[in-house]
Symmetry: C2
Subunit: 322 residues, 2 copies
DNA sequence: ACAAAAGTGTTTGGGATACACCCATGC
DNA sequence: GCATGGGTGTATCCCAAACACTTTTGT
C-alpha cells in the first residue's frame, strides 16, 4: 500500500519536474537530486576457429579512443536490464544474437571513461563459427586471435583478463563447447578448444576417455554406428560393477585440471594477456608425440547430448564431473 | 591529447549547466541528456559463530520495505568506485571495516526498487567473530543464522542465494577460513565452517589429514610443540618420496568436494534458501560416529600461515589444492 | 611416397574413502 | 560416571597418469 503511494508520488514529482524543464527550455531533460553515473554494458565475445580462441572487437568510430578497438557494448536504457542491454548492443553492433551471456562483473573505476562517470557491466558470450558468419559482415567488427589482440580502449584490457580468468573458472563447473563448436565436431577439435581455454596440453587418449565418460557426448548422426560402438566401449568399462550415476561414489566431483595428463603451455603472447599464466605452471613443454596443432585428417564426429549438457549447465550446484 | 581536451570540454559544459540551473532556481541539480539509473551497492556479510554460518542484516527504517530486513548498502557517490561505496556503507551502517570484498554481480531488474530505477552491485564479505564485536552495537543491525533468515527487502532473497552459490564456488579456488575464524581455532571449528558453507559432512580424520597437507595451517603459538609434531607427522608421509611442492604431480589440483569423505546434509531450512541444494545430493544422513555438532571439549589450536594463505588467494590461476 | 593425425589399451602408483577404539573433559 | 567430542592409523579400491605402435588420409 505504502509502496504504491510512494511510487505514485515519485512519478508525479518527476512529471512536474519535466514539465517545468520544458517551459524553461532546458534541452537535457533528465534531472536528479543526486548525481547518477551512466550505466553501460560491454561484452567479451569468444569464438573458436578450430585452432585458436578468438574474441570479437569493434573499431571505435568516435571519441574517446577513436580508432582503437573495444568490446561491443553501449549505454543501458532505462527500461532494460543490463543483460538485455548487452544482448541488444551486441545485435546492433555485430548482428549476432546470442542466447547465453554470463556476467563478469562491474567495472566502476571513476575515470574509466573520459566523458562522464560510466559504470560498466561486463558480460562474456560464447558463439560458434556458424553463428559468426552472419555477424562477420558487420563493418568495423573483427575477430582477433587471443595472441593478436591489440591495445584496447577504456579499461577493456583489464576486462579481457577478467573474462579469461572467469572462463577458466567456469569450465570447472560447466561443460563448455556446445556454444563454441559446430554441431558435429571431432574429438581433436574439442580437445584443442579445451587446450586453448585452459592453456594446457592434454594427452589425447586420456582426454577422449574422460570426455566420453561424462556422457555428454554422442556420436554425430552421419556415422552413428561406428562411434556408438566406441562410446559403448568407453561407457561399458565401469558398468559391470555399477551404473554410472547409480551410486554415491560416482556423484563425486573430480576437477578438470589435473585431468587428461595436462601439460602447460607458455602464457599468451599478446601483451594484453601476457600476465595470465597457463593453468599449470610447468615451464618445460616437450613437443613429443602428444603435440598436435594442425587440424589435418578428418576424424570421427561427435555432438553434444543437449539434454545432459543443459542439465549440467543449469544446475549451479553441479561441479563438473570429468 | 584529445582525451584531455574532451574531458575539459565536458567539465566546462557541465559547470555552465549547473550555473544556469542555479540561476533558474532548480533544486534538483544533476541533469543528463539521457535517463540514468541510480547505482547502489549491497553487501552480504557472512560470519561464523563456530557452529553456523550467519549473515548480517539491517532493519529498514524507511520506505520502501520499512521494517523488513535487508543487506547493508546504499547509493554510490559519483567519486567512488562500487567497492569503495560498499565499504563505506558497511562502515556507516554496521561499524565494520572489512578488508576483503568480493563482487557477486549486478542486479539490474527494472522494478527492483519502487522509488526509481536502481542498479545494484552486490558484494560479499567474510568477517570473523572478533571483528563482529565492534559492529554489534550498531542499532538495527543483527546477525541471523542462515536457517533463520526472514523474508528480505527488495530482491535481496535472490542476492543471498547468489551469494551462497558464489561462496561455494569460490571455496574451490581459494582457502576460506582466515577471515571467518579467530586467529587460533581448532580443527573442528574449521571443519564445521567448511561443512556449514558446503552443506556437507566430512569424515573427521580425512578432513584433518587433507587440511594439514595443504600446508596453509600452522600450530597456534601457545601449544607449538605438540602441534608441530603432529604437523610434521602429516607432512612427513609423502616426503620420503618427494617434496610436497617439488614435483609436477604435486601441482595437480584436486577438488574439495568429494573431499574428506563428504556426507551431504539436508538443504537449508530457511524459506529463502530452501532451493539451494547441498553440494552432494545424497539423501540419507546416518548420524554415526562422524556426526559432531556441539563444540565441546577444547582441542588443539591451529592458525593460518598468512603467507601461504595469501599467496593462494591472490593467484587467480591457482585452483585450490586440497 | 611421405608427413601428419587418428585410432586404440594397459599398467601403475597416489590418494580418496571407509572405518574403530581409547582417552580427556565437561556436565 | 556418563556422554560427548578429541586424538590417532590403516587397508582398499579407484582413477589419473604415463605411455607406443599401427592405420588412415591429405598433399
Amino acid at each position: 500500500m505504502f509502496l504504491v503511494l510512494e511510487k505514485v508520488y515519485f512519478c508525479v514529482k518527476f512529471t512536474q519536474l519535466k514539465i517545468r524543464q520544458k517551459k524553461e527550455g532546458i534541452s537535457m531533460s533528465y534531472t536528479y537530486q543526486y548525481p547518477h553515473p551512466a550505466v553501460a554494458t560491454d561484452c567479451v565475445v569468444f569464438g573458436f576457429d578450430g585452432k585458436e580462441l578468438q574474441i570479437l572487437l569493434i573499431e571505435r568510430g568516435l571519441e574517446p579512443f577513436k580508432g582503437m578497438w573495444a568490446f561491443p557494448g553501449g549505454f543501458m536504457r532505462i527500461q532494460e536490464t543490463a543483460e538485455e542491454c548487452a544482448r541488444r548492443e551486441l545485435s546492433e553492433e555485430t548482428g549476432l544474437s546470442i542466447q547465453v551471456l554470463k556476467q563478469l562483473g562491474v567495472f566502476s573505476g571513476v575515470n574509466r571513461d573520459p566523458r562522464e562517470r560510466v559504470v560498466s557491466v561486463a558480460f562474456y558470450a560464447l558463439v560458434c563459427p556458424s553463428d559468426v558468419k552472419g555477424g562477420d559482415d558487420a563493418h568495423d567488427a573483427r575477430w582477433f586471435a587471443l595472441d593478436d589482440v591489440p591495445q584496447l580502449a577504456f579499461d577493456h584490457d583489464f576486462i579481457l583478463r577478467k573474462a579469461m580468468q572467469q572462463l577458466r573458472k567456469d569450465i570447472y563447473f560447466e561443460p563448455i563447447g556446445f556454444e563454441l563448436l559446430d554441431k558435429a565436431f571431432t574429438m581433436s577439435e574439442l580437445q584443442r578448444l579445451y587446450e586453448a581455454i585452459l592453456g594446457v596440453r592434454f594427452d589425447r587418449r586420456n582426454f577422449e576417455k574422460k570426455m566420453l565418460q561424462t556422457g555428454i557426448l554422442q556420436p554425430a548422426d552421419e556415422e552413428y554406428d561406428s562411434v556408438a560402438e566406441s562410446l559403448s566401449r568407453c561407457n561399458a568399462v565401469p558398468e559391470p560393477k555399477r551404473a554410472f550415476f547409480g551410486e554415491r561414489r560416482e556423484m563425486r566431483t573430480k576437477s578438470i585440471d589435473a585431468l587428461f595428463g595436462a601439460k602447460a603451455e607458455s602464457p599468451c603472447k599478446s601483451n594484453v594477456l601476457a600476465d595470465i599464466a597457463p593453468c599449470e605452471s610447468i615451464s618445460s613443454i616437450e613437443d613429443n608425440e602428444n603435440a598436435r596443432r594442425k587440424p589435418g585428417r578428418k576424424g570421427r564426429k561427435f555432438s553434444f547430448n543437449k539434454d545432459k549438457y543443459d542439465r549440467f549447465k543449469q544446475d549451479n550446484n553441479f561441479r563438473f564431473e570429468f
